[in-house]
Symmetry: C2
Subunit: 348 residues, 2 copies
């Protein structure tokens, strides 16, 4: 791996340094070319680094930040009062070229607003979109956007999302000519909201996008499309619904498998078989666990920003760091900018 430097908002998220610092150390241990800038309160960070191997520490630097944006702060107010916060300093490290990307588990609205303010959208993009890559039933993956950066979208934005998603599917999933669908409430042309129907008409006339039509919510995980496009309100609710159902199943599954041994009069061999089956099932469904794909990429800016789930645990935050590394290595912003020039009308 070539040399790569990321800035981490070490104070963001529901837990803060107790999750971000161990995840940072985990990422450093797995990636010898990685350097990390931990942005936050030195007094909170130093104790967590006390017993760390000096070889790891040599690739870690603390960048002091005096305050933190609260998770429940109103984004507009948080942005106005953002000077000196860990989130803003982490983003500024990209702007000044010291970091190639940044990861934060902090306030989503503030992160999107600040990132847009500091890093600026690419030419042809009105507003950035939050994107994630979901595992599907056919062993492949689907790029889904927008996940909440834009609660209301016009057709031009949906088309921009389609372009960005398409480039992401090519670069990150290594797909040629990825299929792009619009999420809608029916597959017939007349269905849904006006913005979606207008976007469909534009996408049909965009030869560089492999537009395949509308798909419904139940097709999200079936692998029928490589890119699923929707507005941020619908995308956010859909993703969270999916995560809720998956988490419920995984927890029911765990208790069910444990039951098998317990109910059968405690026979030791049934208990063993119960555990064996539980491990098999956990393996089978493990790739669907939301922790495995934590980290939404904020696409459409002149820089790479990864939003981690606020409630991410160490493993999940480490996955978000990996996502940032991948986005930098695949040069996503540059490739999206290049594709936009061939597809979209000039913005001015």
């Amino acid at each position: 791996m070539t040399h790569l430097t990321l800035a981490l908002d070490a104070m963001g998220g529901d837990v803060g340094p107790c999750v971000t610092v161990p995840a940072a150390l985990q990422a450093l241990a797995s990636n010898p070319g990685l350097h990390l800038l931990l942005v936050g309160d030195p007094a909170a960070l130093h104790p967590l680094l006390a017993k760390v191997d000096s070889a790891l520490l040599s690739r870690l630097e603390i960048v002091p930040a005096e305050s933190v944006i609260a998770s429940d702060a109103r984004p507009s107010q948080a942005i106005r009062a953002s000077r000196g916060t860990s989130m803003r300093i982490a983003l500024e490290l990209i702007k000044t070229g010291r970091a190639q990307a940044c990861v934060s588990a902090g306030n989503t609205g503030a992160l999107i607003g600040l990132a847009k303010l500091l890093l600026k959208p690419l030419e042809g993009i009105d507003r950035p979109a939050l994107v994630t890559v979901l595992p599907h039933q056919q062993q492949g993956k689907t790029v889904v956007l927008d996940l909440g950066a834009n609660v209301e979208c016009d057709s031009a934005q949906l088309v921009q999302f389609a372009v960005m998603g398409s480039v992401m599917a090519e670069e990150v999933l290594s797909l040629r000519n990825p299929r792009v669908a619009l999420l809608n409430i029916g597959e017939e042309e007349t269905k849904g909201l006006a913005a979606i129907r207008d976007a469909a008409a534009q996408l049909k006339n965009t030869p560089s996008i492999n537009y395949i039509g509308y798909l419904e919510g139940n097709e999200l995980l079936t692998g029928k499309t490589d890119v699923m496009v929707c507005d941020g309100f619908v995308g956010n609710v859909t993703l969270k619904t999916m995560e809720g159902v998956v988490r419920m199943f995984l927890s029911l599954l765990k208790s069910s498998s444990t039951d098998v041994g317990r109910k059968a009069k405690q026979a030791w061999w049934l208990t063993l078989i119960g555990r064996f089956i539980q491990r098999r099932l956990a393996k089978r469904f493990g790739h669907l666990n939301p922790d495995q794909y934590n980290g939404a990429c904020l696409l459409g800016l002149r820089g790479t920003v990864i939003k981690s789930h606020g409630a991410a645990n160490q493993r999940a935050f480490a996955v978000a760091i990996e996502q940032a590394m991948q986005a930098v290595q695949r040069q996503l912003p540059d490739r999206i900018a290049a594709r936009l020039k061939t597809v979209l009308p000039k913005s001015d």
Copy 2:
């Protein structure tokens, strides 16, 4: 059970009479007080009734309809050309008082439009909403609306949905003072679309509604609320996403449990245990199978209309018939009308 007559659109749905007729016979066999009016093409229906017991047939009547509305027809056109179709005749049987409710698996848009045209909304309701009752993690159920009758909703409509959902939770789920939440992309007051924030402000000032605030998509199945309110676009995508994930899990689970026996060198006792576990898991998760709660109720009209899933199988269509019976027995339209008078401003 007291005497009860339902009209079935026997021709609607992806399969038509081959699903609706066996489901009708199943419902008649289970409910001695039930009478059914099968609306459709007699030439298609008679052969399916040839070997049926005469006691059942005495509670079944064929009402001829010369045509059927195609599932993929444009609703506005289908409604204009609806005279003589099985769907329209089934609805007219409610209007003329021959049936107390109707069930159709046909074109959703046409059914909603025709039902509104023929049965008229209750005073205080702008447009009817599609409602379903979903099983949740705490062994209870949640009323969810709107599921697609209204792709765009203003705050007044969301408040009307909250009232209707609240009455449904009281009458169908027998809950006192049911909790009502608005589906949103965050729990903070500032989140989401303007219509949702306005509806929240109105619901806070409506003492007869137990409004508990915003909930996110991952709370849909956790049992935190008894009624979840959203616009029809979001509700439709959310429900279908949930169904897609549940179906995927159930199918993976089935193949996983079968694997257990097969992989372990075909030992007969492991195969038996594999089957035992599969049955246990199927039972554990069975209540989440979308077939078990098929049938969305079209609320807000002066009559009861149940929309079955177009792809419903016999069991699922029979569940939709049961839903219609329940809605009639609980006198949902009357009770909603009564509640509306106490809550909403007069419409004129």
